[in-house]
Symmetry: C2
Subunit: 195 residues, 2 copies
């Protein structure tokens, strides 16, 4: 059973799976050796072998530079700053951003001991200085750490003279005021626009 | 990105992971290529190669017959009938059952078109007739399908004259009456015991 125990232990380290659901997942795999288990082992191996980190933006892809950085139809003058690749994917799914990205690889956090040198901030400043970027859009999370990171980046980019913007804060589309937290409602009120 | 898409698709087929959490899991894997991704690919491959279904009880193990069936300290005269290997593991974790098991591999379900021939019921009847089993403990789930299955097995085992018992139903240990469903409370009342 050693092989099964080891499989369960590793599955339990995936986000969203605890020890119990890892057991269920392992059994599910074992029940489908040909249609799921072998393909998944191969897919993980293939992905591990194929994936590169883009040396320009810090995203992941099978090529370096990534397919966004090398796409001639993307607007090279707009740079959207995100904490993680997952955030980049979330924005890409909207299909509404024509520019390029810069992935920080995390956020500043005094608690976790993550400082500016642990994030891709120096490379961001270098890109902004060298690549003729006109606008930097801060899309860090609306957490304390995310906002601290945004603030720090704004200061670091000040000497370059680039336009720095951030995502709008407000009521989510389809959101009901009654269920909204006070902070969001306050931000939405402050940022009210005339019709 | 084809390799990443395929990885996400396969991860999303695990129970407990939807498309969103599969994406998170894939990114988590990609962030830890050496400590998680490669080991997981290897662990799945190792488990796929090592795992056998026990030809006697239907459980899974790296040996056939399994380590429970071959353990000389297990009571061969008691057979606990469970739907799935996960149920067997749950009972094993209690450490309170000294006997052996028989895994049905599912439950009777008219809705899903699962009949007696799809489950390990014929092999159960054969075991009870051949192996000198004194007691069969039905530990199928307390669902309609699970109870139908238990009922069907009771009828099939009647000619063998073996004792058929089932798990007690009642208030869970630590359970509060106020939060208990009516069915369990009714079952607990009916099965009340004198102190």
């Amino acid at each position: 059973m050693q092989e099964i125990e080891r499989l369960i232990q590793l599955l339990a380290r995936l986000p969203g799976l605890g020890p119990r659901s890892a057991r269920r997942a392992a059994l599910h795999l074992i029940k489908k050796p040909d249609t799921l288990m072998e393909p998944l082992a191969r897919a993980i191996g293939d992905a591990a072998a194929a994936i590169r980190t883009c040396s320009s933006c810090g995203s992941i892809d099978t090529t370096d530079p990534c397919s966004i950085c090398t796409n001639p139809e993307r607007d090279k003058s707009q740079l959207c700053i995100v904490e993680e690749v997952a955030d980049l994917w979330a924005i890409e799914r909207t299909g509404s951003f024509p520019g390029c990205y810069h992935v920080l690889g995390g956020r500043l956090s005094a608690l976790d001991g993550i400082g500016p040198e642990d994030l891709n901030i120096a490379s961001l400043v270098a890109r902004v200085s060298a690549e003729g970027i006109k606008e930097v859009i801060l899309a860090t999370n609306l957490t304390v750490d995310g906002q601290t990171t945004a603030h720090y980046i704004t200061e670091r980019l000040e000497p370059t003279g680039v336009d720095v913007t951030r995502l709008a804060h407000g009521v989510p589309v389809g959101g009901e005021l009654d269920y909204l937290d006070d902070g969001t409602l306050t931000a939405a009120l402050r940022a009210r626009r005339s019709l």
